[in-house]
Amino acid sequence: MTDGASHPPGDREDGVVELALERLGAADPLASRGALPAGEEEETLLRLYTETLGALPYALAPLAPPPALKGRLFAVLAGDETQEVSGLARRAALPSPPPSRTAAPAPPGSFPVPAPSRWPLRLAAALAVALLGASGWLFLENQEQRADLVRLDLEARRLAGALEEVGAARANVALLTSPGVEFCPLRPGAGGPLAASGMLFVAADHQHWYLAVHGLQACPQGRHYQLWFHTAEGTVAAGAFDPRPGERVELHSPTMPTGTRAVSVTLEPATGATAPSGPQILYGEALTRLL
């Protein structure tokens, strides 16, 4: 990200910083080494600055990828491999060059001999055709088997996803019915629609929690809903979501900040917010023991 600016010879650390930033712009950010002297100290510093840059996105709110994205990724992977195999299969199925049909000239002075019978040639041609046919059939069969494998793989992943959801649902039911579970209703805040509501359930360990939210409108472009836990030390972002209008949203996690005394949902820029800044959509603070 620099423009090749020079730096004082004695100030090696500044040079390393510039190099670390410069490498960000390279096609392979870790391959380019620039003109830095290859000293051990500089190498270590470069690594530290590279890791510092790599840590920056940790400040952003993580976003859950839609479940279909993982399936798409692995479908592409499986597809690539299939194509590779298909290419090999295609190459293997190419007919071999026909044998040379040039007859050796008859030695001078020899007796004329009768023309050789054509049946071996015909037999060879028939065999070649049969072989080609068999190769083609095997190739198609192979393609179908590969496609079946991809389908099975995707099916297995869908099943695994469903099992994971069932497992999560069971865990939530266990939480809701556990002794000492507490709940906290979330009511519309000043900036939220009156139809919006939510219910937070917290296990007795004050760590596991489950939140269901209803009646939210779609987020405006470039914004998303952000869940916050309020503690004595400040607010902690606990997840972002972008539901369809009226869609029920469920969130849960095995961890909750110590000393959480209230919870809120605000509308924030999708680029991330470090503290609640947008309109408050939902808010709740009183935990009541359920069981």
């Binding site: 930033l21 870790l30 690594r47 840590a55 993580p62 902690v236 095995p254 991330g272």
Partner: protein, 197 residues
């Protein structure tokens, strides 16, 4: 063909071990890496490109690149986390530049096809969350003008000359602010960085 056998112990493997396993064409290792890092990378891509289909494409491309280049991964140059972040960032910045050059049409299309995100199921691990709080805290502790140049460089993909032109700040000042911000962050995040090494 990727190997797809399921192993129960992948969650106990560290990131570098997963990359080595992915290099041996074990797709389950890539799946575990995806589960660990996809939310981080999607957050990064969405920060650069805005949320939506384009950011998701970046995540998919990044993991395909990881699959294809896992053999070339050198743990001596960067942690797996940083390697993944830099790959995804590079892909997202490429798209951002392409978008800038093809005016706003692409933005409109991306906005129409914006995907909906549901909340992370498990949100994030405790260590991930703690790191996030620390990095966020240290970034907030930077003077606003230093944070601005750093973010324009990292998330905007701008060179220092471009930052100077865009903000009207003299180039020398941009460089000084960037250096100061980087030095402070390296010192402030030294424990986190050591964890990654």
């Amino acid at each position: 063909m990727p190997r797809l056998e399921v192993t129960g112990s992948l969650r106990t493997l560290d990131d570098a071990a997963l990359v080595r396993r992915a290099a041996d064409r074990h797709a389950d290792a890539l799946a575990e890496l995806y589960d660990r890092f996809a939310p981080l990378l999607l957050g990064l891509a969405a920060r650069i490109l805005g949320p939506g289909a384009e950011a998701e494409d970046v995540v998919q491309e990044a993991f395909l690149q990881v699959w294809n280049q896992a053999r070339g991964y050198d743990p001596g140059r960067a942690s797996v986390s940083t390697w993944l972040v830099l790959i995804a960032r590079s892909r997202a910045i490429d798209r951002l530049r392409s978008r800038r050059s093809s005016e706003r049409l692409a933005v409109a299309v991306a906005a129409q096809t914006a995907a909906r995100h549901t909340s992370p199921r498990g949100l994030e691990t405790v260590s991930f969350r703690e790191r996030r709080e620390r990095v966020r805290h240290e970034l907030e502790a930077l003077p606003a003008e230093q944070r601005q140049v750093l973010e324009l460089a990292f998330y905007g993909g701008l060179t220092q000359t471009e930052i100077a032109a865009q903000t009207g700040i003299p180039l020398g000042t941009v460089k000084t602010r960037t250096l100061l911000a980087m030095r402070k962050l390296r010192k402030a995040l030294r424990d986190d960085v050591r964890e990654l090494l």
